[in-house]
Subunit: 246 residues, 2 copies
DNA sequence: GAATGTATCAAGAAGATATCAAGATACGAC
DNA sequence: GTCGTATCTTGATATCTTCTTGATACATTC
């Protein structure tokens, strides 16, 4: 269920769109070895659906698709997304390149192309995307947690947290609204060996409260669920988690 | 600085870097007819100077320059600017393309190319540029870092930094506000082989602090993020990379 | 009011960071 | 080429933060 909580392990997702199985296989091998997460689509309809579902960081698109023209795919995706799209095509007429680029493609490679050049162009395209990365900020009343910048502010004032305290708060924040049992938290933060030692958790919750709660004896954010665990109050249950339904 | 919107007349500035007069003339004609404002440079030194002075919205760069290699020009400009750079070159070896793209070029066209394709790729590159507006000089409190002139001043007094110290500060400055992990910094400055040696980083941070901090034991600029890395304090509390526009 | 679970405080241990200084290396001047 | 300077690297040590643990006070439930 919580696939997103893998200790900050990030994987750049690439959506591969091509109808030739051989090319798909070949490219998947190449991209896998570069530690990309590869998703595949064999036609335009699936490509558009996958772009919406997977939310890839980059799309490699062949123009010759069985069900619809690649240009149309670009236009449809551009209606709602700025994900980098690199076109891979056998069409080498200048007119085709111009049409694809003006439809919203970011780059255009003519087959056959070198693997090295493809990877370099992927890196270049990803550079662009990184610069406009939106920072998901969790906000509950006066409390703001910026997971990318690793910063916590209370009414605009920055709060200094120790590494463990930050990990703990991050776990609570990414599960805002849900109750986390002692055992769940202990396993996630301290490891399976600490499941039977709730004391260390209580001490850290206490320290954390003293830093983010105005009156730590009457906590507004970190609520104790007697006999069960802890829960972070969620103000915007629908808005908070940027990951759509996990 | 002179903005792009002088008296309502919007002019996209393009810097043309090539040593062949014929090509310069030809491209200027093409670009003029598209209502671009064209600036020219005939060698690498002039190109870097013009990039700083003119602040073009896009650079078309030939790799074969008389005074220095085009790759070097890309790297030097990338130290302080994210302006889109499209390489135009006769070199069609894959290795050349990869080197240029990884040095920071946004696109690579092999001569001879079609004018239509060039214009389409210019339009695509300009689309990206709309979202990013980098700060050429970083300023916070008394500290000023001029990435163009490679100069650091503290309350107006120039500070002498070693090459490593400058690289380190530049990395922090271009990511002001964000936390950079030890590993990120080590990989960027010293290379992947040093990722497991945080000592060299600590020594250099210490030296840097002694030069730019008044009280190095209570740093105002370079903040330690315990257990994580370092962060340069940003004067904007909010997102730094979002379209500052002058 | 007793039993169970929870919160707080404080001190030693463990770990991470900062600093100093000496040897090694690279670079420019002569 | 040799010297002198600046820079980089490496090692040892000092300083500080954070973690862990134990004792004790508080709260809730029955």
């Amino acid at each position: 269920m919580d696939s997103t909580t893998d200790k900050g392990k990030v994987c750049v997702r690439i959506l591969l769109v091509d109808d030739e199985a051989a090319i798909l296989r070949f490219l998947k091998t190449v991209l896998d070895s570069e530690e990309f997460c590869v998703y595949k689509a064999e036609n335009g309809r699936l490509a558009i659906a996958a772009a919406a579902a997977v939310r890839p960081d980059l799309i490699l698109l062949d123009l010759g698709l069985p069900d619809m023209d690649g240009i149309e795919v670009i236009k449809r995706i551009r209606e709602w997304s700025n994900v980098p799209i690199i076109v891979l095509s056998v069409r080498e007429r200048e007119e085709d390149k111009v049409t694809a680029l003006d439809a919203g493609a970011d780059d255009y490679l003519t087959k056959p192309f070198g693997v090295g050049e493809l990877l370099a162009r992927i890196r270049a395209a990803l550079r662009h995307a990184l610069q406009q990365a939106p920072a998901p900020v969790y906000k509950i009343d006066d409390l703001e947690v910026d997971l990318i910048r690793r910063r916590v502010t209370l009414a605009g004032v920055e709060i200094q947290l120790t590494p463990t305290e930050y990990d703990l708060l991050r776990l609570l924040v990414t599960n805002a609204g849900k109750v986390l049992t002692h055992r769940q938290i202990l396993r996630q933060i301290w490891g399976a060996g600490y499941i039977e030692q709730p004391h260390v958790l209580r001490v850290n919750i206490s320290n954390l409260r003293h830093k983010i709660e105005k009156d730590s004896s009457r906590p507004r954010y970190i609520v104790t669920e007697m006999g069960v665990g802890y829960r972070l109050k969620a103000d915007f249950p629908e808005n908070v988690g940027t990951k759509a339904n996990g």
